[in-house]
């Protein structure tokens, strides 16, 4: 019987890795279940998840982004170590990277999943962004440690409960808005009020509605960045998702059984229009969603809000014409667990 030492195992692993890379290049799909048991023993603890082109929650890229993220989840559930491959990625959007960070935190906590990342082949800009946003520290397993390179244009993705870190985000928004937007004191007060309302209501929604009641910790993740006079604030939770929290009629329950008819985008739009609410039978207030939109609806800002929840995508865009909002809805084939919000606020028009 051949005795394996560590050098031999490493050599074998490298060989397998090259073989797998070759298979991938040839377009053949690698099937773990069909693999040789020795290969499985030596290497198949590690599965590769590739993020193609743009990791973004935008209509063109959301399906591929969500499919990659859900692959991570299924590999983690099967007990694999996961190699995150960004070598084909050309752009990373705040909302998607926030959700990916949340997914990594949760999978590490639930399954003790180990992640790997290799900067070779990854564009310098993407590598730098992943470092600044705190994703690389998460992969290394030191998620609570601030990134090595702190950037004044970005707040790394941070997990919180209640309204932790709200101050940090508000200071970031107001500090940057003041530096670049020439805000008067009244405008500053208004900006603080609108940003506070949007974020604090989002956090409160998470606490009150997003997770099952008995879940003791109800976390959310947030990040903020500024790029070319536009502020991006991304926020997400991994709860039930907006469409699932709405009480449904009997007919709707029948239609939604087994995802016969996905209407999640319509349900999100109904929530945004205040025609549906998870608290409808308690007065149907729904003022929280109004606050979430007000930050982009205000004539001073005229921004864009995107919401991804369950299997629905919704965007409210006032950047082109502030007086006529452009709404887009999209029913998705892949589910996002929870809700991801992105506010895009121009600070100089």
């Amino acid at each position: 019987m051949k005795k394996w030492n560590s050098t031999a195992i490493a050599r074998q692993k490298a060989q397998i890795s090259r073989a797998l890379a070759c298979k991938r290049r040839l377009g053949k799909r690698y099937r773990p279940s069909e693999a040789d048991p020795l290969i499985r023993l030596l290497s198949l603890n590690r599965m590769r998840v590739t993020f193609y082109k743009q990791l973004a929650f935008e209509p063109e890229f959301i399906e591929s982004s969500l499919q990659s993220i859900s692959k991570i989840r299924s590999f983690a559930e099967a007990g694999h170590k996961i190699f995150l491959d960004f070598s084909l990625t050309t752009r990373v959007q705040a909302s998607a990277v926030t959700y990916l960070s949340a997914e990594i935190d949760v999978l590490k906590a639930i399954y003790g999943t180990r992640f790997a990342y290799c900067p070779v082949g990854v564009s310098a800009a993407i590598n730098e962004l992943l470092e600044e946003v705190g994703l690389l520290n998460r992969i290394k397993g030191i998620g609570g440690v601030p990134p090595r390179k702190l950037c004044e244009d970005l707040v790394p993705v941070t997990m919180g409960v209640d309204k932790d870190h709200l101050d940090v985000i508000l200071r970031f928004i107001l500090g940057n808005a003041l530096k670049r937007g020439n805000l008067q004191s009244t405008d500053r007060a208004k900006a603080e009020n609108l940003a506070y309302k949007a974020l604090s209501e989002a956090m409160l929604n998470v606490k009150q509605h997003a997770y099952p009641l008995e879940q003791p910790v109800k976390p959310w993740w947030v990040t903020a960045s500024i790029l070319e006079n536009v502020i991006y604030i991304a926020f997400c939770d991994r709860g039930l998702g907006m469409p699932a929290t709405i009480p449904k009629s009997f007919g709707e329950q029948i239609l939604s059984f087994g995802s016969l008819l996905n209407r999640d985008a319509d349900l999100i739009q109904a929530i945004m229009h205040h025609t549906r609410s998870s608290v409808a039978d308690r007065g149907g207030r729904g003022y929280g969603t109004k606050d979430i939109q007000q930050l982009v609806r205000d004539p001073e800002f005229c921004g864009k809000l995107t919401v991804v929840s369950g299997a629905g995508f919704y965007s409210l865009d006032l950047t082109e014409d502030c007086s006529s909002p452009n709404e887009t809805g999209l029913n998705l084939s892949t589910q996002l667990k929870g809700t991801a919000l992105l506010w895009i606020i121009p600070i100089q028009r």
Binding site: K207, S278, Y287
Partner: protein, 138 residues
């Protein structure tokens, strides 16, 4: 119990959030007889509707600061100027709740004036929540 069922979860939430406020452990008193300075007397960072949301929630504010002022039967001012951080949940529960929960009459409500130095829109928002609660009462 299956908590993934939104209806079941919803019913349970309702029970929790309508539980009467217990003593929060903190005592709040207005700094003057005819004025509540919210930032000074309560918090510059009020948040949430219910005690489960945190110490500085709207139910506590309504029951420990607003209601005692109404009981005095004299006109008073609620000055929100010390902070710009008011979410709709807090404002609706604190002021809309005066009609919806406390069932105060219009005569009583007229004793209260709400003011914000820099952002009059916040005072307008308070009036809106009170009016909306009145509509629901009818």
């Amino acid at each position: 119990m299956d908590y993934s069922d939104p209806e079941v979860t919803h019913m349970n939430r309702e029970n929790v959030f309508t539980t009467p406020v217990s003593a929060s452990g903190k005592k709040f008193r207005p700094s003057s007889d005819n004025c509540i300075d919210v930032a000074k007397d309560f918090s510059a960072d009020p948040w949430g509707r219910y005690p489960a949301d945190g110490d500085f929630n709207a139910q506590v504010f309504r029951q420990e600061l607003l209601l005692p002022m109404f009981k005095k039967g004299k006109p008073f001012l609620v000055d929100l100027s010390g902070s710009n951080r008011y979410g709709s949940s807090f404002l609706e529960e604190a002021f809309g709740g005066l009609v919806r929960v406390e069932k105060l009459s219009d005569d009583k409500l007229n004793l209260m004036r709400v003011h914000h130095e820099l952002l009059p829109s916040i005072a307008d928002e308070v009036s809106y929540y009170i009016e909306e609660a009145k509509k629901q009462r009818k």
